[in-house]
């Protein structure tokens, strides 16, 4: 399926935009999050909303979706004043909000999810569900979004990309005229992205108004008709997409010329490719020898040198995250050896942390942070044993406090956030910085990172890359797993490619080539 990019040829309509934000203001706890933002979304247009985390995009969406009320300013939908008190009011006004974290019930079927709040009834006085009508109406909606499943399929069987289409079908079922999409592509494969874009364009052509929020600037530039750029709660730019370039967008978002996306990488002290490790441990801080776990990884070996940033590329399902979990001791393996600084690495995560291994997982909300706990508590967590005195392990509070303050500065955590604040309230980028800070506090010898910049804005990404380099420069070995080849090419000294649990390619910095890396990810080593 293809779609028309940037409808440059289509004439602009003269009508008043479907959705109008006029001088919207909103504060939380005395902090002003939106200061007089105004813009509109026209019928049959896709408007892209871009900005760093904390710029105010989610707040705007929540205002439109009925989760919050503005302190000042006016919202208009279809020309009328729009003051929703809850999401139900928003739905009634024809506004559908497709959240980043999907709101589907995986134990129910597609049809049940689609009509959860509005089941077709038999109309006999007793509220019996009309299953036939349910199925046929659901099938119709699925056809509209191009999803080829029976409406009775349980949602838990669907991959992320198809669940998203179900959400959109839900919006269509509610007869929405305005659809908000918040970071829709974070969990999608590239094929699923294409499918989504085609659908979105189709909906636009049918006269919907769409508001599209994303950090993937490339997608935004491809897909959207108009753009609105937010920075620190203000609209700093808007207009037709054709008037923007990638660099201009980035500099508007960040507020300065961002010459680089990636910090400059000095040549590492030791480049550890498989051949150059002459001596048995050859300065390798992490040595993986023929690790096998049936169905997950097969006969996998590599070395990570001190001061080296090693990237691991590959498609979803290649076994990269599983490898990291095996290295950290969370999952078992059947045969092989792992050595840290020459010594065999065994035991629980706690034991490995003591040896100097650190692991930033790909799911920070579930596995990286205690969401309800404070920033300080999260930052200190790994370092607590080191900051406690025997016999009863009394905590050294001054030591902990100074470590926390030190880390906050090191990761450049937003100054607006107080130590005692719950991390739940932070933006994605700041949350990830807290996780990273927690690990850096223990001064690891080896740091494993799994998708460290997922769902994070451009400015924060840069800062995280800098932190990775600084850590490597101090002599640690850093392993970065990422699905973005450009990112790995930007920050790594060496890239390994995995497919089907095996390493199918190795590239040194001078040989970095996007097509060849991708090819190695797609074909097996025996190709």
């Amino acid at each position: 399926m293809d779609f028309t990019p940037n409808n440059a040829e289509r004439p602009k309509t003269n009508q008043e935009p479907v959705v109008v934000f006029e001088r919207i203001e909103k504060s939380f706890f005395g902090v002003k999050v939106l200061q007089g933002v105004s813009f509109g979304v026209g019928v049959g247009r896709i408007v892209g909303l871009v900005g760093e985390n904390g710029a105010g995009k989610s707040t705007l969406m929540n205002l439109l979706g009925g989760n919050l009320q503005p302190d000042a300013g006016e919202l208009r939908v279809n020309g009328h004043r729009y003051t929703p008190r809850n999401p139900k009011d928003a739905r009634a006004a024809g506004i559908a909000f497709v959240h980043q974290e999907l709101n589907l019930f995986s134990n129910l079927s597609i049809a049940e999810n689609l009509f959860l709040t509005d089941f077709p009834l038999l109309g006999i006085g007793v509220p019996w569900i009309d299953r036939r009508a349910l199925r046929s109406r659901a099938a119709e909606l699925l056809r509209q979004v191009g999803l080829d499943h029976s409406p009775d399929t349980l949602v838990e069987r669907l991959p992320a990309g198809e669940r998203q289409l179900v959400e959109i079908a839900k919006a269509l079922g509610a007869e929405a005229r305005v659809i908000l999409l918040d970071e829709p592509t974070t969990s999608l494969s590239s094929r699923e992205c294409e499918r989504l874009f085609a659908l979105v364009t189709q909906l636009r052509d049918r006269g919907m108004a769409l508001l599209y929020i994303s950090h993937a600037l490339g997608d935004v530039l491809r897909l959207c008709d108009d753009l609105v750029v937010l920075r620190d709660g203000e609209r700093v730019g808007s207009g037709a997409t054709k008037d923007f370039t990638h660099d201009r967008l980035v500099s508007m978002m960040v507020g300065r010329q961002l010459n680089q996306i990636y910090p400059e990488r000095r040549a590492p002290i030791q480049t550890g490719s498989s051949e150059s490790m002459a001596s048995p441990d050859g300065g390798a801080v992490l040595q993986v020898d023929r690790i096998s776990q049936p169905g997950i990884v097969r006969d996998l070996s590599f070395k990570l040198g001190a001061g080296e940033v090693l990237g691991i590329s590959g498609l979803m399902g290649a076994g990269r995250s599983e490898l990291a979990r095996i290295l950290f001791g969370l999952d078992p393996f059947a045969s092989g050896e792992v050595r840290l600084s020459g010594e065999l690495l065994t035991g629980s995560p706690r034991e490995r942390i003591r040896r100097g291994l650190a692991f930033l997982t790909e799911d920070r909300r579930q596995e990286g942070l205690c969401m309800e706990a404070s920033i300080a508590d999260n930052l200190a967590l790994v370092g607590l044993p080191a900051n406690s005195r025997t016999p009863a392990r009394f905590l050294d509070f001054t030591g902990i406090q100074s470590a926390v303050t030190r880390m906050r500065e090191a990761v450049k955590l937003s100054a607006k956030a107080t130590d005692g604040q719950a991390v739940r309230t932070l933006s994605g980028g700041n949350q990830q910085k807290v996780v990273l800070g927690k690990w850096l506090l223990m001064e690891p010898k080896v740091l494993l990172l799994d998708e460290p910049t997922r769902g994070i804005d451009v400015g924060a990404k840069f800062e995280i890359y800098q932190l990775i380099h600084q850590l490597a420069d101090r002599g640690a070995g850093v392993l970065v797993i990422s699905s973005e080849i450009e990112e790995l090419m930007g920050i790594c000294d060496r890239i390994l490619v995995m497919r089907g649990g095996e390493i199918t390619g190795e590239f040194r910095r001078d040989d970095f080539d996007r097509e060849r890396i991708l090819a190695a990810a797609l074909h097996s080593s025996k190709a």
């Binding site: 300080a376 905590l395 509070f397 902990i400 926390v404 130590d419």
Partner: protein, 348 residues
């Protein structure tokens, strides 16, 4: 993390606040406005009595409680109540509250003969006379008076009557006893009375089931059911308390064995207490005999002890409720002395 010293300081501040509040209570004027603590009663004048019952779960206890209330009202005494629902600790709190209120006497139905002893000691320390109602305490030198029935004698009398009926049938009868909570001295006495009477019967009666009910209706039901299943030809059943008759009735009715005393297939039934249920069942002819405690008399005696103590007269250590066995044979002449009959008639 906020600096910890602040936290511990806060802890200590808070504890100080608690202690200050406590000090305020301590220095509280005994006659703060509205605090209606009684001025010490003149010798011989009883103003309040504290009554602490373990439970009000059966007719028997309710009858006793009501009688105490009525007696107090008749004599112009204020009665403070407490029901502990089987919790010894709660009962202790209630007794302590009575002591604090400077009552003139305390009447206790203890949960168990041992846990009541510290309660009696506490009352002794405050010079308040203590009466144990219907359930005595275990051996102790704490000063108190126990008004209790002679469970052994009354039960033996009752069961002897049943045994005589069994002998009349000419066949050897199988017997079952429902025992009470064996931490209750009353239950032990009744069990012993039953065993004694059966022993005297010799070969005429054989005990095949002894059911521990812990004074619990559900356990009684389950126990009777399984016993009847194991021994379908049981001919004599004794329950340590009448309140369990409904369970027995339920099981026997289901088995088609709920027969009156002049019908064939009748199972000999005996109980203890003399409550309204037993009275009705006897009047209808299903139950053969039951041991009667004179609940009203015991209540009167309990209050009398306190009045006597206040007047300076010495209190006896034990007052025995002789009681009697009421049977189908003497029903008409004795029913006026059976408290359950009185209750049943008052209900009509």
């Amino acid at each position: 993390m906020r600096p910890r010293p602040l936290r511990t300081r806060t802890f200590l501040t808070a504890m100080t606040a608690v202690i200050v509040m406590a000090a305020l209570t301590g220095c509280g004027k005994p006659d703060a406005p509205g605090a209606a603590t009684q001025p010490p009663a003149a010798v011989g004048q009883v103003k309040t009595i504290g009554v602490a019952f373990e439970t009000l779960q059966t007719e028997f206890w309710v009858a006793g409680f009501d009688k105490l209330k009525a007696e107090c009202a008749a004599k112009g005494i204020t009665m403070l109540e407490g029901v502990a629902d089987g919790d010894a600790s709660k009962q202790f709190d209630q007794v302590k509250n009575f002591i604090n209120r400077k009552v003139d006497g305390i009447i206790i139905v203890p949960k168990d003969g041992k846990t009541v002893i510290p309660m009696i000691k506490a009352a002794n320390a405050a010079n308040i006379p203590v009466v144990l109602y219907n359930r005595p305490a275990d051996a102790t030198d704490a000063r108190h008076t126990a008004v209790a029935p002679d469970n052994f004698a009354i039960t033996r009398e009752t069961v002897t009557y049943l045994v005589s009926l069994a002998k009349k049938t000419g066949r050897k009868q199988k017997a079952m006893i429902l025992m009470g909570d064996l931490s209750d001295v009353n239950a032990i006495g009744r069990r012993d009375g039953f065993e004694a009477a059966v022993k005297e019967a010799g070969d005429a009666v054989e005990v095949v089931a002894r059911i521990p009910t812990d004074w619990n209706q559900e356990k009684a039901l389950a126990g009777v059911q399984s016993a009847m299943q194991a021994n379908p030809d049981i001919g004599l059943i004794f329950t340590s308390s009448d309140f369990m008759f409904p369970s027995i009735k339920s099981v026997l009715s289901n088995l088609g064995k709920w027969k009156k005393h002049n019908e064939p297939g009748h199972i000999l039934l005996g109980g203890f207490d003399g409550d309204a249920t037993a009275y009705q069942l006897m009047a209808d002819g299903y139950v053969d005999a039951t041991g009667v405690q004179d609940v009203y008399w015991e209540a009167e005696q309990a209050i009398q002890v306190i009045l006597d103590a206040k007047a300076g007269r010495p209190a006896p250590v034990r007052i025995d409720d002789k009681g009697f066995a009421i049977t189908q044979a003497n029903l008409k002449e004795m029913e006026s002395r059976m408290w359950g009959a009185v209750v049943a008639k008052n209900k009509k």
